[in-house]
Amino acid sequence: MRKILALLLTLLLTASVFTFATAEAASLTPAELTIMFHGSNVTDDSAVLAKVNEYLKDKINASLKVIWGTWGDFDETSTMSLNAGDPIDMYFTCSWSQDEYNAYAKKGMWVRLDDPDNNLIEKYAADLWATLPQVLTDGAKIQGSDGLGVYAVPGYKDIATQNCWDINVDLLTKYGYTLDDIRNADYYSFGDILKTVKAGEGDSFYPLLVEGMVLERMATNSIIVAGDSGSTNLLSYYMNPTDISAEGPYGNVMLNKFATDEYKKFVEKTREYYLAGYIDPGLAVADTANDLRKNKQLTGQYLIGTQSYSLGYELQASQERNIHVEMVPCTPAYVDTTSSQGAMVAISTASANPERAMMFLNLLNTDPYLMMLLNYGVEGIHYTLNADGLVQFTDKRADYQPWTNGMGNVTLLTPTADQGKDFWDTFKAYYGAAKKIPIIGFTFDASNVQVEQSALVNVAAEYALALDTGAVDPAEKLPEFLQKLSDAGMQTYVDEANAQLTAFLAAQ
């Protein structure tokens, strides 16, 4: 009898402990969530995930597994897993990765989050939706397998694009120029400055350090058309450089990038600069151009460079290169499809637990503790807080470096010591002020013209970079290039893009 009593008491005790512990997440059955990120450099996540799981258990009774995709393998592995229906609940997605947001939404790979029958956002992520800028929530609405709606949670990060001239100020002032001389000039009137510096620094110095494709966009005020071929853009949309939200010189149309007068003018000028020795011939070699550019930047061997800007980059660049670097904007900051859909997290239709995944995403994007933990690691191990309460990374950070911007709402993070206390205020002000271009939300779907696209990309790979850096003579090569493009079906490609754009604008 005593034995039975003792047993009963023990049972009662265990049961009461059990009920007490799970009181908070009681209504939820335990769930395991898996998420796949992009661009990570993580070799040891054990400490972080232990803390994350402890926290998630209390909050939503779930545990998390992370697949740390890297820059090199994400495209291949994510599409493989999606096509094979692997049990992965959430994927990074965006307008430029292989598991492209629009295309995979059409294929039915993503759960529609604002489905009228089961509105996950309303049920589980109202907080999250309220914190996001309208540019992002609007930009995420697309045509997918379940109608027009939201198929992924957009990350609140550097959501605007601004192309800048990257100026080596030390060298500029050495020759008696000021930043105003750059501000008041444009690409076509840099000639005198370049000439003076080239003459002073000698033959082996090349003052213009350019990325061919970025330079082309800066000189002609064209933007990346989302859905166009990523490796070599073929389409141009010209924006209005003075009033971003207004239509550009050609209106809302897609153009053959290489057939416009602007492009002709640009390549002729670039050829002139190239022949004068302002551009390093090495920049015309696609495979090594990036390494060369990096090396020249780090050693400060340039005067004017091209840079797609993100807030605070001039400070970082100055530090890395040991020179005074300033960024002179070429146009105001603008938001286009590429940047508004630049980093998102979607819930896979293969997920067994989309509701819990949504709860997790809501938490990740609204809870500073969780965001800090997943992004910067464990306090005391991967980072410490200095006297001002700012983040300082330890050596351990080398083992745990996820891609910050690919995760979600980065404004939840405590600023780092390098960024300074007011960083997120300036950040929100800068990106909040960025205006939308008229065709924001439009993504070209090239699946109908796949054959043409691959043929065109091959042709463009041969000519575009060489022309953009001035390595070949446009008088001879440009007509040849255009002829080959039209033989490969450029008109069909452009017509398809315009038909889609017209339909998109009409639907709005």
């Binding site: 597994k65 890297t70 493989m80 050693t299």
Partner: protein, 311 residues
């Protein structure tokens, strides 16, 4: 000066000898060819010892401005992960080669036996997969969901166990070097099938086995794609090749997409290995397999000549 026997041997020498000028030309051609093989590797070794500063200033060069062992110092700092993947590569190669050679032999032997009635069918079965594949995604689904090849060593070994090409090599080798009479004799003497294969046939076809083993060992040593597909979370299982390939693919991605990533690319580039580091890893990968060659070479040469001396 010369002892007389050499005089008597001279006609023999002459029989196969070529004239001095021809021989010079042959040697020159072969020497040149060897140089083409060796020099690139030497270049890689030199670059791996070149300081990053020198690469920045004058690019790759046989005579760098300054030398440095920094790349190797960095490689050894990777530490555990590096040794771990070294071990994985050796383990996968050893186990994979042993199993795949056994499998090849066991499949090729019946195909060679004329008294096996279904051999045409099985021959076709393996040959067919050489021409038509199921495609990547179905293969992935079968391996991962049906066979459970995910996050384990088996995922890096099993998909490459069977190669129809090797079966054909093995079968042809058996046909040319094992006379049917040998097997009949063994049977008459009371040898069972397994005994015949492993005690009588195997010693005769050692060169063929060595050739297949070399091909398989190379294939396993160089394999990285399986790791990319099937090893996502258990990074302890990553082989050396994939460790290098990961770095290379990251660098390629940044090079191709830097115009899309903008300022982000600069942050990413911080984590990329330097030029000399990449070359140092190549050296670490190539040296072990290059050391294995001389051991196999003996058999490969024997394999080339053995069929041709039959009377």
């Amino acid at each position: 000066m010369l002892p007389t026997p050499s005089v008597t041997r001279r006609p023999n020498l002459r029989l196969n000898a070529v004239s001095a000028p021809t021989e010079t030309v042959f040697h020159a051609v072969l020497l040149l060819f060897s140089l083409f093989c060796v020099v690139p590797f030497l270049f890689v070794v030199i670059i791996s010892f070149t300081s990053e500063e020198s690469i920045r200033q004058i690019g790759y060069s046989f005579v760098p401005q300054s030398w440095s062992t920094q790349a190797y110092a960095y490689v050894f700092r990777i530490g555990d992960a590096l040794w771990r993947s070294y071990f994985n590569s050796f383990f996968i190669t050893a186990v994979g080669t042993a199993l795949s050679v056994l499998m090849t032999l066991l499949y090729a032997y019946p195909l060679f036996r004329r008294d096996f009635r279904q051999r045409h069918f099985f021959n076709f079965l393996s040959f067919f997969t050489m021409i038509f594949g199921g495609g990547l995604v179905p293969t992935y689904i079968i391996c991962k969901n049906v066979l459970g090849l995910s996050e384990n060593y088996a995922a890096l070994i099993v998909p490459m166990l069977f190669s129809p090409f090797n079966v054909i090599i093995m079968r042809t080798f058996l046909q040319t070097s094992v006379p049917t009479e040998l097997i009949e004799a063994a049977t008459i003497d009371g040898s069972g099938e397994y005994h015949t294969l492993f005690r009588i046939v195997l010693p005769v076809v050692k060169p063929g086995v060595a050739t297949v083993a070399l091909l398989n060992a190379l294939a396993y040593w160089n394999e990285w794609f399986l790791a990319l597909l099937y090893i996502r979370q258990n990074t302890d299982l990553i082989p050396l090749q994939y460790l290098l390939m990961k770095m290379q693919r990251n660098a390629d991605f940044i090079a191709k997409n830097s115009h899309l990533l903008g300022a982000e690319a600069a942050n990413v580039a911080v984590n990329l290995p330097s030029q000399s580091l990449k070359m140092a890893l190549v050296v670490l990968i190539v040296v072990p397999i290059a050391c294995a060659y001389p051991f196999f070479q003996r058999f490969v040469v024997a394999g080339l000549t053995i069929g041709s001396v039959k009377g």
